[in-house]
Structure formats: structure tokens, C-alpha cells
């Protein structure tokens, strides 16, 4: 092999030849540069496990261990490590996140609503402040108002709207006088076929063709009501065939001035209620009551029918009389234009119509329409009545009891007598008779005259009747010191007022005194 001188240029050529050979394993400059970049003691033969261990063992390598991986796998997606704080103040929270609004935490200022809150407002369901006063009474549909809310001045209440209220025993509520039949000045009356005032004061029978009757004060009363007397009407001769035009009606007529509180004929008219206890012996059926208001041009009635079902049993009845706004304006005087009536017998002229249960122009056929009870049909048909009360309002209250003396004085405005109470006028008796002194100088046939004061002022100048001791009307007794009693002497009796009268007599018999009984009637 030829040796070639190596020149400087030849070295380069050698290097290039070596580096250019494909199988020279030559150490190129690139290799050298690469090797220079490797630090001293560097190795390239560590296993993955060694590398992993080395990484994990490093204290500052922030390595991701298997334990970290297991832990991370247990965390749900999007989880975080949030710890709920505990709140304090108006709303507090527990560690579990439960929140509680503290007492008094929410006040008016914290509420969001329209309007302006104030001392008279409340928060409505539509989130608005409203004034309490704007609530309608109709909004109150249930519940019970406490008594504390009913203090002060209450509005006017209609008595008919009150239920469960105990009767108020106020005085002077009963317009009827002698409703308990306790006063019976006139005594028992027998053989009566026509109209007249009855044994019990203030009660009048109006009767045509209804048999013959006796009237008396009786002690048959409803049990347990406090009554002691009743008016007994006893049929003694029957009128079996009830003809048209026949009637028997008990009536009460008050003075018009005693009804002024009713306001009838005005917009302020008041209702009335009439209650009474009644018993029929031997009778059952329907009977009617009515009120008749009379004037010269406008006669009006209102009626009510009652069914009496058990003969011989006391029954309480209540007649509600509506206010008559379109009726007659009652005169404020001592006359009587109003009749409160009970029909005990009524012919077809009174029963054939339709009952007026409200005020209407009088039609006689309507007044007792539907009545079937005919009290004059049999002599066993006794009637008893007591506890009659007429009062303002629509609800019957307990009976108003008045003292006997008070009731008697009220009755004496209409009837007075010298006879003892319960002794019939015309009875042969001297009990209760009055004396008029005559000549003190001796017996004389001349006039003996005297005046007598009535015990109360009467309704009107009364009709007077004088009686002698045997009971002859229009007469008196002329007496000579009790030794020469001459009855049947003509007496004149007169009055020009309602509180006293004058009686006088002259005759053929010498007398020192004049004796007489009297009755004075100012009934309606």
C-alpha cells in the first residue's frame, strides 16, 4: 500500500474520509458536541421503576403517588373542598347549612310591599298595605267576635236578629192592661147574648148570633207560668148552625195615644207582637186573630190563624203583627181606632176569603179565612184566656207582671164602681154604698145633693148609673137616720168632667142622707 504524505490539507481529507465511510463508527464532531452536553456520571440505563422511585422519593418533586391517585379517584367530578360557613345575625346557620330566621328578625322595614305601612294598615295577600277600615262586614263569614271587641257604643240592632238572648224584664212593655185577668171589678156575668165588656176589666166581647154565654174570672191557668187568673167564657146555650153574619170575637181597644210609639203610617213604623195563652174545652180546630185599624177613609186589617190541636190543654200563641208603613197615622187622642181581636165564632162572611197575613185594606171575608173552630156550637165549649201581652218588636218576651194595685188603677181609667170588686152592679147590698149628707136641721123632702170624686181621672166624661140598695138603676135610697129606708127614689146623676160627678134627689120621703151605689164607665 502506498503511503501518502499527510498534509494539513490531507488531515481534513482523512477526517472527511473517515466520517464519510458508512461503517467506520467514526466519532464525529456532532457526536462530540452531543457527548459534551452530557453531564459527568450520567447514565442511560435506569429502569422505569428506578426513575419512578427516584421521582417519588424526592422531597420537592410534587410527585403524584398511587395513594394520591386512589384519593383522587374517590372525588366526584367537579367536586371541591368547600366548608359551609356559620352565619350569625338575623339569619343563623349551622355547620350542616341549616338556616334559621331569628325571633323578631323580620320587621316591617324588611318587607317589600306596595303602599305605606301604618298603625291602621295590614299586609294583604296581594303584597299591598291596606287600611283595616276598608274591610267590608260581609268579609266576616265565620268565627265568633270576642266580647272585648263589643265594648263601647254598639250600633242599633234589630231585636228580631237577636237569638239566644234572655228576656229583658223591662217595665211598661205590655200595652194590654189586665192581660193576666187579675182585675175583675164587674163580677160574673150570665145570660149574655150581645156585646159588652166582660168580667175581667178591659176585655170586651163583640158578638152576634153566637149563643148565650157566661163570663167570669177563673183560677184555671197554664201551669208554671205565674198566672193566677184567667177569663172564662162559658157557652150556656149553643148556636149549632153558624150563619153568615154570625160572629163572636173578643177584643181589646187601647187608646190611640197609647200607641203613638208604633209610628204606623210612617217610614218608622214598628212591628208588634201579641202573645197569649188559651184553652178550649171540648174543641179543636183553627181560629184566627186580627188587628183592625179604622179611620173614616181607610180601614185596614192583618190576620193570623192558629191551630188548636189538643182540647183541654193550654196553648201559647204568638201573633206577629208587621209594621204598617202604609197604614193609618194614629191620632194622638183618647179615642180608640185600633182593635185587637180573637175570633171564637165566625160565619162564612168572615171566613170565605184569603187570610191577610200582611196589612191590607179590610175585606171582611179575609179576616177569619180558614177558621174552623166555632165556639158557640156546644155548651161544653168553654174558653179560657190569660197571659195576653202586646209589645213592640217581633219577638214575644216573658209576660210583664204588674202589681194588682197598679193594674187596678189602670183599669179604673175606664171603669169604676162603688160595689166591692167582683160584685156585679145591681146586686142587693149596702157594702161599698156612698152617703150624701142632707139637712142637718132635720128630715126634709127637699133636694139632697153631693159630689163624689172618682178615684182616678177617667178616659172621658163617664156614663154614670146610680143604684139604690136593692139594685134598681137610676135610683137611690133616701134615709132618715137609718130608720126609714126608702129605696127606689129617683136620682139624677151628671158630670161635666172626668174626675167627679154630682148626684141629687128629691122625693116625698123625709130624709137626712142619700145612699147610692154607682158605676162610671169610660170604656171605648
Amino acid at each position: 500500500m502506498a503511503i501518502t504524505k499527510v498534509t494539513s490539507g490531507g488531515i481534513s481529507d482523512i477526517a472527511a474520509a473517515v466520517e464519510g465511510a458508512s461503517d467506520s463508527n467514526k466519532f464525529t464532531d456532532a457526536d462530540h458536541s452531543k457527548l459534551n452536553a452530557i453531564e459527568a456520571s450520567a447514565t442511560v440505563d435506569q429502569t422505569n421503576a428506578e426513575i419512578k422511585a427516584a421521582v417519588e422519593a424526592a422531597t420537592d418533586s410534587n410527585t403524584f403517588t398511587d395513594a394520591d391517585h386512589t384519593k383522587l379517584n374517590g372525588v366526584a367530578a367537579s367536586s371541591n373542598n368547600y366548608v359551609h360557613p356559620n352565619h350569625s345575625g338575623d339569619v343563623v346557620s349551622a355547620a350542616d347549612g341549616a338556616m334559621t330566621i331569628q325571633t323578631d328578625a323580620v320587621d316591617i322595614a324588611m318587607l317589600s310591599a306596595t303602599g305605606t305601612p301604618g298603625s291602621t294598615t295590614f299586609l294583604r295577600g296581594d303584597n299591598a298595605w291596606a287600611t283595616a277600615g276598608s274591610t267590608s262586614a260581609s268579609d266576616l263569614t265565620s268565627g265568633t267576635l270576642p266580647m272585648a271587641r263589643l265594648s263601647g257604643t254598639l250600633p242599633a240592632l234589630n231585636g228580631g236578629s237577636l237569638t239566644g238572648v234572655n228576656a229583658v224584664n223591662t217595665g211598661r212593655k205590655n200595652i194590654f192592661i189586665n192581660g193576666d185577668m187579675g182585675v175583675a171589678q164587674r163580677g160574673t156575668q150570665t145570660g149574655v147574648t150581645g156585646s159588652q165588656y166582660l168580667a175581667c176589666d178591659r176585655w170586651q166581647m163583640n158578638m152576634v148570633d153566637a149563643g148565650t154565654w157566661s163570663y167570669s174570672q177563673d183560677t184555671d191557668v197554664p201551669a208554671g207560668q205565674g198566672f193566677t187568673h184567667s177569663l172564662k167564657m162559658d157557652c150556656t146555650t149553643a148556636d149549632a148552625a153558624v150563619a153568615s153574619g154570625s160572629y163572636m170575637r173578643l177584643q181589646y181597644r187601647p187608646e190611640s195615644q197609647d200607641l203613638k210609639q208604633l209610628g204606623w203610617g210612617t217610614s218608622n213604623a214598628q212591628p208588634l207582637v201579641m202573645s197569649f195563652w188559651i184553652k178550649f174545652d171540648n174543641l179543636t180546630g183553627d181560629f184566627c186573630t186580627d188587628v183592625l185599624s179604622l179611620t173614616n177613609s181607610n180601614n185596614r186589617t192583618v190576620s193570623q190563624k192558629f191551630t188548636y190541636g189538643s182540647a183541654g190543654v193550654w196553648q201559647k200563641c204568638v201573633f206577629t203583627i208587621p209594621a204598617d208603613t202604609g197604614g193609618n197615622i194614629l191620632e194622638v187622642d183618647n179615642n180608640g181606632q185600633t182593635y185587637f181581636q180573637w175570633f171564637f165564632q165566625a160565619g162564612s162572611d168572615l171566613t170565605s176569603g184569603t187570610l191577610n197575613t200582611d196589612w191590607a185594606t179590610r175585606v171582611n171575608a179575609n179576616r177569619a179565612a180558614g177558621q174552623t173552630l166555632q165556639a158557640g156550637s156546644n155548651t161544653s165549649n168553654n174558653i179560657y184566656l190569660t197571659g195576653c201581652q202586646l209589645e213592640l218588636g217581633s219577638t214575644a218576651t216573658d209576660f210583664e207582671y204588674r202589681s194588682y194595685g197598679e193594674e187596678l188603677a189602670l183599669c179604673q181609667r175606664y171603669w169604676q164602681q162603688s160595689y166591692l170588686s167582683g160584685v156585679s152592679a145591681g146586686t142587693n147590698t149596702t157594702s161599698g154604698s156612698l152617703y150624701v149628707p142632707g139637712s142637718v136641721g132635720g128630715a126634709s123632702t127637699s133636694y139632697i145633693a153631693g159630689t163624689n170624686n172618682l178615684v182616678v181621672q177617667m178616659r172621658a166624661n163617664p156614663t154614670l148609673v146610680s143604684y139604690d140598695m136593692p139594685g134598681n138603676s137610676g135610683k137611690c135610697r133616701r134615709d132618715f137616720f137609718g130608720t126609714n129606708n126608702n129605696d127606689n127614689q129617683t136620682a139624677a146623676i151628671e158630670t161635666a168632667c172626668n174626675h167627679s160627678f154630682l148626684i141629687y134627689s128629691s122625693g116625698t120621703y123625709n130624709a137626712t142622707v142619700l145612699l147610692y151605689h154607682f158605676t162610671a164607665s169610660a170604656e171605648l
Binding site: N461, S473, A492, L502, L524
Partner: protein, 58 residues
Amino acid sequence: MIITNAKYQTSMQSGVDITVVATIDGTVMSVPMVSDNTDYIEILKQVADGDITIAEAD
């Protein structure tokens, strides 16, 4: 009401007729002549109806 023997009565005090004396249903009654006495009203009615007359006072 059956009225018979109606007659005016002159007052002893005043000298004028203030009373009608009549037998009414069998009883002799002295009826004052005032408009609010119901017996006098009935007497006037029966007079107006021509059923009775009232005699002059003695």
C-alpha cells in the same frame, strides 16, 4: 145596644143640658154629651139612623 126612653137632662149646676138619660140594655144610664163618650156616640148614631129620638128635658 138597645136604647129607649132617651131624654135630655138639665144640669143642676149649670142649668144647661149636658146629659142624656136613657135606658140602655135595660139599665138607666146618664150619658154625658161629649164626643169621646162611646155611649153618646152610639146615641147620636141611632138618632141619625132614625131609630130613636131624644126627648126634651123637664
